[in-house]
Amino acid sequence: MTTRIVELRRGILKKNDELAAGLRDRFTSAGVLVLNLVSSPGTGKTALLERTLRELRARGVRVAALVGDLETDNDARRLASSGAPVRQINTHGICHLDAEMVSKHLEGWEGVSLAALDLLFIENVGNLVCPSSYDLGERIRVALLSVTEGEDKPLKYPGLFNSSDAAVITKIDLADPCGFDRQLALKNINEIRPGIRVFETSAKTGAGMEAWLDYLAGEARI
């Protein structure tokens, strides 16, 4: 009986990475800025996105969103009230979006052409672990954490925070009642991802929205 060792040196998610690279090229040539929003369930991705879509539209920015959930199209219906084109991706049990799902949901999306968009948001499935391994072809990955979740979230989930390009602290209107230690949260984010841009928002009161929207418009070069 003989054994042999075969060197492979292959990325486990190579297929996803290749598909994502193809998507990224497509987004770049269409001139659309794509963001991947990642957080735990209940952090307020949808609330932030709802207000972001509405306010960007009011500024004349052309926006759309793909929204991932295990089941239901509740989020898509909620986001559609902003007037922006929204499409739901139901993963039926899968805990993250992957490049193939994004690619498939870009096909046959009525009334949406990438070239006619300035920004496309992809709201990932609520999960702080699995989405960090899957590149969706986005240019900016945004990690969100709410003031109700605890300041040590970035330390507990370093994989996601370290691979993100921006962070948003949500629900800051609840910071005081929650005894949220802002300095500690900012320090923890910075320990895991030094130099990352951090925004502090309340989708309810609108606090901090201006800086977040200016950042998005700046990145989309509008």
Binding site: M1, T2, T3, R4, I5, V6, E7, L8, R9, R10, G11, I12, L13, K14, K15, N16, L70, N90, T91, H92, G93, I94, C95, H96, E100, M101, K104, N127, V129, C130, S132, S133, L155, P158, G159, L160, N162, S163, N190, E191, I192, R193, P194, G195
Partner: protein, 156 residues
């Protein structure tokens, strides 16, 4: 995340096995295991008859992979594939950062702080830690058929 329903996203290309109550990619590590099976099966096809004995991975500390979960679902993910019965060996890689002030690369003890262990300055330049790759596979060639040595003797 774990889900025991048998519903599948119809848009996904992998066929359902039907008899398993666990959807093959309902858990993160199960998706990862299924991707490994796919890649290794393709590579092993170049060695007809060989059995996959061991699969060796390189997994960075920031790859968000729970080793126990991956080992737990390995048997399920590999059954009825050329990898059935194989052993999964995971080589964990620590984070290595490059410090601009010191000009050196250093290994970090954990993933809680990205600072140069020598000078304590922030070191955001990651040189290792996100790897998620199949390093190598060990294949076992089948024994020659029992009558083969006898034939050789006769010819001599």
């Amino acid at each position: 995340m774990f889900n025991t329903t048998t519903r599948r996203d119809k848009s996904r290309s992998q066929p359902s096995l039907g008899r398993s109550i666990v959807q093959k990619d309902s858990m993160h590590e199960l998706s990862i295991a299924s991707s490994i099976v796919e890649t290794v099966s393709e590579s092993a096809a170049a060695y007809p008859g060989a059995r996959v004995k061991e699969v060796r991975l390189r997994v960075g500390a920031l790859a968000s992979i729970v080793e126990d979960s991956l080992q737990f679902c390995w048997e399920l993910a590999t059954e009825d594939s050329p990898l059935a019965g194989s052993k999964l060996v995971i080589h964990r890689l620590p984070v290595i950062v490059h410090c601009e002030s010191c000009g050196i690369d250093s290994e970090l003890d954990g993933v809680q702080s990205f600072r140069c262990p020598r000078c304590g300055e922030i070191a955001a330049d990651l040189r290792q830690g996100r790897e998620l790759e199949i390093e190598s596979i060990e294949l076992e060639d089948p024994d020659p058929a029992p009558d083969e040595p006898a034939k050789i003797k006769e010819q001599v």
